[in-house]
Amino acid sequence: MDTKPKSDKPVTRRQFLRNGGRLTALTGLGALGAWLSDRATAKAWVWQIDPAKCVRCGNCATHCVLEQSAVKCVHAFAMCGYCNLCTGYFNPEPNALTTAAENQLCPTAAIKRTFVEDPYYEYTIDEKLCIGCAKCVEGCNRFGNGSLFLQIRHDRCVNCNECSIARVCAGDAFRRVPADQPYLLKTTQAH
């Protein structure tokens, strides 16, 4: 079988440059296509607090760029014991188990205590009042099962490139999570 002999004609400089130009153009187009496709499917990321790492240091209340922190206490009702004496609600030595201000632990009275049935009470967070100080979170964890915990609320968070709370978080609990799954919630299963 005959094979066609390769041309002995040397590649001219013009040909070399033309081929080089074509290759560069093709590579550029490919890279542009990949970038555009990546951009179309890329996930957006937001900051969130991992409740398993949070050490309730108080920095969330004082280091957010917002005047009132975007970090709020949230409540896993499925985990809550609906305790008569909620250690997240009452200070350690309450005069009585009533809603009187001197018995409350929260510095802004952001927890609402509602009677359910003897002797159970439901505790809900008023997010307008909550400053994310984690005092109740510590109280709940210290004596209870930790159904109160902190989360960044994304209706408030401005998603800074470098979160100013994350910079000083004592428990290194801040991390980026996909924007379509922006919360790290506690569950009875995980518990």
């Binding site: 050490v55 309730r56 014991g81 350690p92 510590e138 210290r142 004596f143 099962n145 000083v168």
Partner: protein, 339 residues
């Protein structure tokens, strides 16, 4: 030429030095601020440190011995009428002399959660949802019916009138005869009978038979010790919620009960782990061991941990010595009243 070069190098050297110094200063200031920010005391701290040190004047007991629990995951300690210690830990019940010598071991198919012993040596062991019966030599004699998925046995008391099992899952004290027949259910919420019902946020319901013939049951969610007749009538309660030494701390305490020979109570708490003595009427009398005595146990409810685990249990011998089981450190301490 040489002079010019030297001048230029010196100028360059000085400029670089200044630039580096400025950079270092900026970095140091930034680092200093970060350290300061992290090291600043938390203005919102939940401070219970004042309760972790007990007033020495209140401590009426001293430790005379301490030994390690025979197995991991201890849960309950009891003392038999012939004054042997029965320790539930892991899948075992270990029978020990009062000086810590192991005499017998009963192996179980799952975790032993509570134990009670009759005068003839018959041993009743509570597993999660049923009771198993063993003779004095540790041979299995019976396995009682399961109480269902929700059941979680955590306390047993054995008396002449039967066996009383504290079921934390169903919030009830079950009254059995010695053959395992269920005779009654005590303490379930009932408005008509004026029964308040047990509140058990974490599984630590306990039961004791007192010298007055009444049952004593801790009601942790109400911070009470309650008295019931064997027929299930509610006779009264005592106890108050506070982290202060004379009350019961946290959401749910006490978690364990024992009775002194003269009818006074020994109570065990978690969160602020402490063992205290109350009069038969429920007046605070003294501290057996304060929170400072159980540093590992106290840590079980701090930092990253919540307070579902941890705590203490106690048993009392006829001489009034108190045997404290540390559920976290896994040790048994013998406490004797100070002379």
């Amino acid at each position: 030429m040489r002079k010019e070069f030297q001048l230029s190098a010196r100028r360059e050297f000085l400029a670089n030095s200044l630039r580096n110094a400025a950079l270092l200063a900026a970095l140091a200031s930034r680092r200093g601020r970060a350290v300061e920010e992290v090291g600043t005391p938390n203005p919102f701290a939940y401070d219970v440190s004042r309760f972790s040190k007990t007033d020495p004047k209140l401590i009426a007991y001293e430790e005379t011995a301490r030994w390690k629990c025979p197995h991991a995951e201890p849960r309950r300690i009891a003392i038999s009428p012939d004054q042997q210690l029965f320790v539930c830990a892991g899948d075992y019940v270990s029978v020990m002399s009062r000086d810590g010598q192991r005499r017998l071991e009963i192996t179980l198919p799952e975790a032993a959660r509570c134990v009670g012993v009759a005068h003839d040596g018959t041993t009743f062991i509570g597993l999660r949802n049923h009771i198993e019966v063993f003779d004095a030599k540790g041979q299995r004699r019976a396995t009682w019916d399961s109480l269902g998925k929700k059941s979680w046995l955590t306390g047993l008391a054995v008396g002449e009138n039967g066996i009383f099992a504290a079921d934390s899952g169903n919030r009830v004290i079950l009254h059995y005869d010695k053959s395992g027949e269920l005779l009654g259910r005590i303490g379930e919420k009932n408005k008509e009978r004026n029964l308040p019902g047990f509140i058990v946020p974490s599984p630590y319901l306990d039961v004791e038979i007192a010298r007055d013939g009444l049952l004593r049951v801790n009601n942790p969610g109400r911070h009470h010790v309650e008295a019931y007749t064997l027929d299930g009538d509610f006779e009264g309660a005592w106890g108050k919620p506070t982290a202060a030494i004379d009350g019961f701390c946290g959401c749910c305490n006490p978690i364990g009960l024992a009775l002194l020979p003269d009818g006074r109570f020994v109570t065990c708490e978690k969160g602020l782990p402490r063992v205290k003595v109350y009069s038969a009427e429920g007046a605070f009398e003294s501290v057996v061991a304060g929170t400072e005595s159980f540093p590992e146990n106290a840590k079980a409810c701090s930092g990253l941990n919540d307070c579902v685990h941890g705590g203490l249990d106690a048993a009392v011998d006829l001489q009034g010595r108190i045997y404290i089981l540390d559920l976290v450190a896994g040790g048994i301490r013998v406490m004797k009243r100070k002379a």
